[in-house]
């Protein structure tokens, strides 16, 4: 278990960052077009989450360094972009980080027009998609590893990206609300959240809850298809499938199911109510994210463990 810890941390954090960035973009677009909110109003809500994306991305990139035997040579990994998916991954990763930080800085200092910032955010999200795609191709392109050399790898990476991204944004929104209320409390004021802000957040959370239930369904279809594919392969494929069994595998499935499914349902229920106290919603959104994060983390760790090669 946890044989490739640095790779597990890097891939999970990087994918969560890309997913969260995309989901924040979707929230922005929908809140403006369907919620009738202004750019400034939504920024107030999404900016803290955007900065959090930067933190998780940096954590992930830092973890990836520990995977290297000779980190001093790290700059060389960009030398083979024309042939190696690993070079491409790092190029996209640095691109996503660079554009993301430029965007975050422009948001923070309100540099440039809102339109310019939107274009930059869109570009950043596209490069993020490139990052997840090249990450998937690193594994999916290896003929020697049957457990990875399948359509399942990119699809599973996409599901993880969006699932963790959605739930992380949900938790970050509620965290922001609760933190601001606490600030008010400490200042001796009656804690309150702007009604229209709360409406935007609950609408977002309802969307996030629905998305996670759909993604959970997708994940639970992909896993048996993958196992079936491996069972029909050669000796290496059959051997690698053995990883996906036992108590840890059951725990991983249970955690993702509880987090995305059951709690998704509660998030939807709570978000549909119009209560003044957002605390129960905050707890549910945070726990849902935590459970799915741990479940996906175990799943990714098993993914690395399933590396059984053909040949000798």
């Amino acid at each position: 278990m946890f044989t490739d810890l640095s790779m597990t941390i890097f891939s999970i954090f990087a994918q969560m960052s890309v997913g969260a960035f995309i989901v924040l973009g979707v929230v922005q677009v929908l809140a403006r077009t369907r919620g009738g909110r202004s750019a400034e109003e939504i920024d107030r809500l999404t900016d803290p989450a955007t900065y959090a994306v930067g933190v998780t991305l940096v954590l992930g990139l830092a973890a990836s360094i520990f995977h290297l035997g000779t980190p001093m040579n790290a700059i060389n990994v960009l030398r083979h972009v024309d042939s190696s998916w690993l070079s491409r991954e790092i190029a996209f990763g640095l691109g996503f980080a660079g554009l993301g930080f430029a965007f975050a800085a422009m948001q923070y200092f309100k540099w440039g027009s809102a339109q310019l910032r939107q274009v930059l955010a869109g570009l950043t999200a596209l490069v993020g998609v490139g990052l997840v795609a090249s990450m998937a191709m690193i594994y999916a392109s290896l003929d020697a590893v049957p457990a990875w050399n399948t359509w399942v790898t990119p699809v599973q990476f996409a599901v993880t990206t969006l699932l963790l991204g959605s739930l992380a944004v949900g938790a970050a929104f509620m965290g922001t609300v609760m933190w601001r209320r606490r600030q008010m409390e400490q200042a001796g004021e009656e804690p309150a959240t702007d009604e229209r802000d709360l409406a935007t957040i609950t609408a977002s959370l309802k969307g996030i809850a629905l998305a996670s239930i759909v993604l959970l369904g997708a994940a639970f279809v992909i896993i048996p298809l993958h196992l079936n594919e491996l069972s029909q392969g050669g000796a290496a494929a059959v051997a690698s499938a053995e990883v996906f069994s036992g108590a840890m595998f059951a725990l991983r499935l249970a955690l993702v199911f509880l987090g995305a499914g059951l709690l998704g349902f509660f998030v939807y229920r709570f978000a549909s109510r119009t209560e003044v106290n957002p605390q129960p919603l905050a707890v549910v959104a945070t726990v849902a994210f935590g459970l799915v994060f741990v479940g996906e983390f175990i799943g990714r760790s098993m993914f690395y463990e399933s590396m059984t090669r053909i040949g000798m």
Partner: protein, 205 residues
């Protein structure tokens, strides 16, 4: 590329003594866990049923493997740093000045040729004993084999002399990497794709 070099292995002569493996390890002073050449003990069997009698029908043979300096060297293709590269003579080698030790080549190679050396923090692999060959000597593994089951040379010459069989279990299908390898199969050898046996010493290879 001028001349492509490769290995020849006569499986009918191999006794599984692993002298090639030890000679390689000694010559290159490899640390614990790093074995550029390894010998797999491949075996299996079925039951032969005659009337009410079940008799075991078993087989075993050996496969020695280092690096095949493949035409389609997947290790070099996937290497992010270009440290893993194919030299003019077709030998696939690691440039220590470039290697970052990410171990991606290790995942990609179905022959386990690139191996991580924790002492140097870099990948390492068979270079067909470049220094020995420069002195007119055979590679250490070839020279050490008491059964003379190993040979090396320009792959065209090896294929002319010994044929072009390389699709023998437990090796992968040669179409994956186009290895510069020729094998004279043991009588119990199983072709790739019709393999029923297994490697019986997986921790050694």
């Amino acid at each position: 590329m001028a001349v492509k070099l490769g290995f020849y292995f006569d499986q009918t002569l191999c006794t599984g003594c692993k002298a090639c493996q030890i000679a390689c390890k000694d010559k290159h002073d490899l640390p614990l866990g790093v074995n550029w050449r390894r010998v797999a003990e491949y075996g299996g069997g079925t039951w032969q049923i005659t009337g009410d009698t079940f008799a075991p029908n078993i087989f075993a043979n050996y496969m020695t493997m280092a690096c095949n300096h493949c035409d389609d060297a997947v290790c070099a293709d996937v290497c992010p740093t270009t440290a893993m590269h194919q030299r003019e003579d077709g030998v696939v080698a690691v440039d220590d000045d470039l290697c970052v030790g990410c171990r991606y080549c290790e995942w990609a190679c179905p022959y386990s040729a690139p191996q991580y050396n924790a002492e140097t923090g870099r990948m390492s692999k068979c270079d067909l004993c470049t220094d020995f060959r420069g002195e007119g000597l055979d590679p250490a593994c070839v020279a050490a084999c008491p059964s003379r089951a190993l040979d090396w040379g320009p792959i065209d010459e090896l294929r002319e002399k010994y044929g072009d069989v390389a699709a023998i279990a437990p090796l992968p299908d040669p179409s994956v990497t186009q290895p510069n390898l020729v094998i004279t199969p043991h009588r119990s050898a199983e072709p790739v794709g019709a393999a029923t046996g297994a490697i019986n010493n997986p921790r050694e290879v």
